[in-house]
Symmetry: C3
Subunit: 163 residues, 3 copies
């Protein structure tokens, strides 16, 4: 299946900050890399939560709204809620247990796997500004790009998905 896929390109705009949708996105990009595709993930709005580094979150240089927003939002990938049946975390715990029973890796593992495999993760410049996140609060090696750079990458891609 890997023949002729080396010059193919998958582009994902990750808008969602839901655990299950981020999981779907990361399963896709890991699979795509294994097939030899080039992969870009452009994280915007709630999708930025995937890229926050819990050890680097800072309240410095944030105004009152940005501080409030930062403190009520999930601080790292593994803390993201489920899009359906979250039920104060019961549904998510059930899903995680079922994943463990099947030896399925968790979100954090898929994220690390994707980064190891060379998936390019980018953060949306405008979203960072609106949400008051600093690029220093993100995981190492995340590029900050604008909407037009995302669109140019999408134009050069064979598959574009909005998740």
């Amino acid at each position: 299946m890997e023949n002729n896929n080396n010059n193919k390109h998958l582009n994902i705009l990750l808008f969602s900050g839901d655990y299950d949708k981020c999981l779907a996105a990361l399963i896709l990009v890991n699979g795509a890399r294994q097939m030899g595709l080039t992969v870009t993930v452009f994280c915007a709005f709630w999708g930025l939560f995937l890229l926050r580094d819990v050890d680097k979150i800072s309240m410095e240089d944030k105004n009152i709204y940005e501080k409030m927003f930062s403190s009520i939002t999930p601080s790292e990938a593994e803390k993201l809620p489920l899009s359906k049946m979250n039920l104060a975390g019961i549904g998510k715990n059930m899903l995680l247990t079922m994943m463990d029973e099947n030896d399925t890796p968790h979100l954090q593992d898929f994220l690390q796997g994707a980064r190891n495999k060379g998936v390019r993760f980018c953060a949306c410049k405008l979203s960072l500004e609106i949400m008051g996140f600093k690029s220093e609060e993100l995981l190492e090696g995340i590029e900050v790009i604008d909407v037009q750079a995302y669109l140019q990458d999408a134009l050069n891609s064979n598959i574009q998905l909005f998740i």
Copy 2:
């Protein structure tokens, strides 16, 4: 409008298990088949609910979590909730009544229509495993494929959507 569409291909990754989003997906694939397009629908995560056969759901070979999960989730397409204003079913009943007033078919009818028209429905192998659904619990004729087979189909498509 049907000229030159016979070698075109629409590929949908159906992640959602919401009634309205599944309805949108099925309206699209029915329209696409009428135009002569080849159509693949890859159902993953909550999208698997569209493909369960209520007469075949079994509790055998399921662990305790899979049994709980199976019993709290919708057993067939027509029981799916609305993504917005579900309000304990009031919003959905209102939508269904409005659809009836306009002689719009229900989800089940669009699903049957799509299957009759030759839309290829596939279930995500990994999602089945995580959720503890057996392939025998699905509607007849559903293929079980993995993420890479989905991606290969998407690479060969003219339109790819994540719904």
Copy 3:
């Protein structure tokens, strides 16, 4: 970056009526037009709420369900709810305040900007019928097209997104 983009085409199916998702869609289409791309936005289901003209909403020729539906749904773009953390409007007000702090325009401004830049906005014929909205209730210059016309436009596009 504008070279060779004049014959490129972005096609968005806007299904969502959430403030944040509509904002993401409109930021994309404004950026795309600045790069010289042709842009079509096909609004279906909840996405129709983006195109309602608050001054033209009428209860005439509506049945009882359509009247109820019309009165409980958002009457214009700026009134749309947030997809996450809406918390009776607190989350949205916080987001709007953070946008103001960064001089980011609101949804209505991005919509007007997109219309001024020549983005083609279309309303889904079937969705209008189901929801009981008349084409006269929409903003001026909105085309009403069917699913197959959307698909044909999507086939002729370089990027297709379902939002």
